[in-house]
């Protein structure tokens, strides 16, 4: 049984990578997650996202916008899955169009989505960096 916030995989960094070409959207996600106690990095296109991945090592989760110019989320996903350094990183896709969840991803968020959907998805993969003021003190068990 893992205590809430435990790191399950020591090779996994505590950072979430948000890849979205809309700066306002990427910043909004990063802002909310940061204040909920997570560490967040952002990238505003697919190429930048892959570069950030190389810097971050292994983020605990990638939130990937599907509809981006130049390099669509699908191509980023394919490159991730083909790279042995990154192929095991959980990826959740964000999209504004209703579609099936792409194979090999851990979740799909259809805009506009409720914030709790995002937080529950993130909580399943990432430990918090800090205790947030006002946050209920819980020791929720998860996993085995």
């Amino acid at each position: 049984v893992h205590r809430f916030g435990d790191v399950e995989d020591p090779a996994c960094s505590r950072t979430i990578l948000v890849v979205d070409d809309e700066v306002d959207i990427a910043e909004a996600i990063a802002d909310v997650l940061t204040h909920e106690g997570y560490s967040v990095a952002t990238a505003t296109n697919g190429r930048d996202g892959l570069d950030r991945l190389a810097e971050l090592g292994r983020p605990c989760l990638v939130l990937l916008d599907i509809m981006m110019p130049w390099m669509r989320g699908y191509e980023v996903l394919a490159r991730l899955r083909a790279d042995p350094r990154f192929h095991a990183i959980p990826v959740a896709v964000i999209t504004a169009t209703r579609q099936p969840q792409p194979e090999g991803t851990t979740g799909l968020l259809l805009k506009p989505f409720d914030l709790w959907e995002l937080l529950a998805l993130v909580e399943a993969h990432c430990p918090r960096q800090k205790t947030r003021a006002g946050w209920p003190s819980t020791a929720t068990s998860r996993g085995g």
Binding site: I29, K111, A133
Partner: protein, 108 residues
């Protein structure tokens, strides 16, 4: 399950152009246990509303860089998906329009 803790927490969107004021409001509201998103302009606020569907209240500064609070509110009220979100308009002291004279369209 994690969902239980989150579902009851509605998000408050704080739209304020002054960084210090916006941050102070966010700190205050987060301290009360609310989920808070922030935007420093009307355009950013509309982006946040395209992203999150669980906004329960908007605190909207009337004076903003770019689109004014009144313009943002007009756009909000024309969008069916967000038209019913309660909005509290934030005025600087001394700029509050006299009751019944400065129309605040559809603000709560």
């Amino acid at each position: 399950m994690a969902f239980d803790r989150y579902e009851s927490r509605r998000m408050i969107l704080v739209v304020e152009g002054h960084d210090d004021l916006r941050e102070a409001l966010c700190v205050l509201l987060r301290g009360e246990g609310h989920l808070v998103a922030q935007a420093s302009s009307g355009e950013k606020a509309l982006a946040v509303l395209r992203l999150f569907g669980s906004v329960g209240l908007i605190l909207l500064a009337w004076t903003l860089p770019g689109a004014s609070g009144a313009e943002v509110l007009t756009v909000l009220r024309r969008r069916p998906d967000v038209a019913r979100i309660p909005v509290i308009a934030l005025f600087s002291r001394g700029l509050i329009p006299p009751l019944g004279q400065g129309p605040i369209p559809s603000a709560s």
